[in-house]
């Protein structure tokens, strides 16, 4: 690991003042420190945010929204009763990610900022346009079975590994950032970038800008009764998704009045297509209707390598997640959150 300077500011203002080009903000460290150990990240300075009390609060807002400080731990948010009751699929997605130990250390801001798990990004000896612009993409001819089927480019076929971001995208979350130029809001849909010909540009953050909070709008809480996250993975727990789905419905008198839908692990950002949601509105919650929404969500999907299976897997996972959502949010978190093996997953 490259040697770095360490600073521990006590306020956001001091953290921003400590920023110099080449510095990195440190949250829980579960991703950043890991990447520093293997030489993928080499910051000159670590700015430890761990003592900034103003970033460590979960606020349920009047009117039904929520504001989550960037330094809130993943496990604390997922187990916050008021939050989990209002936004159950966010809690379920967080609990489907990583392990108990990692969720205790990892922060919400860090979850949003986590890097791709593409093998070649994580190997400094391999060409990778995302890590080293212009060096090429080893994944195109390499182990790409779990890489992108939507929104990829010739330069990069990496996926975003976050579970949490998938329901946040479906629910239209807003990322609050602060930087040298002041505060601004970024819609989560615009936060992560598709690779295009500049995959090194991963997010909308400007140099020195810091994620300070994530907000969920009040209307997102209206989906609490019918909201599920489904994660398909190679083992039952502690594995990244092959495909994941956040599916939420509002149902009145046997008809869907509103829907939210997003796919994870298929692109460099959570994949949301509002046309697929609009197609569900006004319909009865049937398998045929769900299949049409899945087709709309996956429009334009194409394999980037040996991963064509993910398209059909995603289509079926969308239908299943919508069925789970229509069956109702379980009263208690399933023993295996987001698992297709959970009992709660089997009705409809």
């Amino acid at each position: 690991m490259k040697r770095f300077d360490y600073v521990r500011p006590l306020s956001v203002a001091d953290a921003l003042a400590a920023y110099t080009p080449g510095a990195a903000y440190l949250g829980g460290g579960t991703n950043l420190l890991d990447l520093m150990k293997i030489g993928v990240m080499q910051p000159d300075t670590l700015i430890d945010l761990g003592r900034i009390a103003e970033l460590d609060a979960i606020e349920m807002l009047p009117g039904g929204g929520a504001r989550i400080g960037a330094l809130v731990k993943n496990s604390d948010l997922a187990h916050d009763r008021a939050f989990a009751a209002a936004f159950p699929m966010v809690a379920e997605a967080i609990l489907a990610g990583a392990s108990g130990q990692l969720r205790n250390a990892a922060t919400i801001g860090g979850n949003l900022m986590q890097k791709t798990r593409c093998t070649y990004f994580q190997d400094p000896h391999s060409p990778c346009n995302r890590r080293e612009p212009g060096s090429g993409c080893a994944a195109r001819e390499g182990d790409n079975a779990n890489l992108a089927v939507l929104g990829w480019s010739d330069a990069c076929i990496a996926t975003n590994p976050s579970d949490m971001c998938v329901p946040l995208a479906a629910l239209g979350a807003i990322v609050e950032v602060q930087g040298p130029g002041g505060r601004r809001d970024i819609q989560i849909a615009s936060f992560h970038f598709l690779p295009g010909d500049q995959p090194e540009n991963e997010t909308a953050l400007q140099p020195g800008e810091l994620v300070i909070a994530i907000r969920l709008p009040a209307e997102a809480a209206a989906f609490a009764k019918n909201a599920r996250y489904l994660k398909v993975r190679e083992r039952t727990s502690f594995a990244f998704a092959l495909v994941s789905v956040a599916a939420a419905l509002q149902i009145e008198g046997g008809r869907i009045t509103a829907a939210r839908l997003a796919l994870g692990a298929v692109a460099a950002k959570p994949w949301r297509v509002t046309a697929a949601e609009e197609l569900l509105a006004g319909q009865s919650p049937t398998q045929e209707v769900f299949a049409r929404a899945a087709d709309a969500l996956l429009e334009g999907a194409k394999p980037s390598g040996e991963n064509g299976y993910k398209i059909e897997l995603a289509r079926r996972a969308v239908v299943r997640a919508l069925q789970m959502s229509a069956a109702g949010t379980p009263k208690r978190m399933p023993a295996l959150p987001a698992s297709s093996f959970a009992e709660e997953a089997s009705h409809v």
Partner: protein
């Protein structure tokens, strides 16, 4: 530049001078404080062998920089037993054959102690398995580990009921 931190480790106050901020909590425990019960497996947060409690919460000590932990209260496997009396989780691991080679065991036990205090798994085997999924056991003693965690959960609940009665 050197960094001075104080920690409480298994109840003892320790002041540590770090001449390098790259030292992880795991390396500090093993190399500087001679507490080698905490094991280094993958060193990347994937195996759980390095699990300790920081301020009562289980974390991977390999992914914590020691310098960030100034003022923290650390519990390692060496701090669990009360003299010759084993912690209920330690006793349950022995009783239920929760290990074979033993390398992952300190991490398994610390993770189980953390899981039980979190209180979300109870005595449901599926929830215990899910809650312990951050700890790999290459000998695959998972059946015994699950039984041990459930048994320890039950015993610790009974003890706390007796205390509060």
């Amino acid at each position: 530049m050197s960094y001075s931190i104080s920690l409480t480790v298994n109840g003892d106050q320790r002041r540590v001078e770090l001449d390098d901020p790259r030292v992880t909590l795991l390396d500090l425990l093993r190399e500087r404080l001679d507490l080698t019960g905490t094991k280094k497996g993958c060193d990347r947060g994937q195996c759980g062998a390095c699990t300790v409690l920081v301020d009562g919460r289980r974390v991977n000590s390999c992914l914590s920089l020691a310098v960030t932990l100034d003022g923290a209260d650390i519990t390692t496997i060496e701090g669990l037993a009360d003299g010759d009396t084993l912690h209920p989780v330690q006793a349950a691991f022995i009783e239920h054959d929760g290990f074979q080679c033993g390398y992952c065991t300190p991490g398994q036990i610390m993770s189980a102690v953390g899981l039980i205090s979190e209180g979300h798994a109870g005595e449901d085997p599926e929830r215990v398995r899910e809650g312990m999924s951050g700890n790999l056991c290459r000998c695959a003693a998972y059946h015994g580990i699950t039984e041990a965690v459930i048994d320890a959960t039950r015993r610790m609940a009974e003890t706390s009921e007796r205390k509060s009665a």
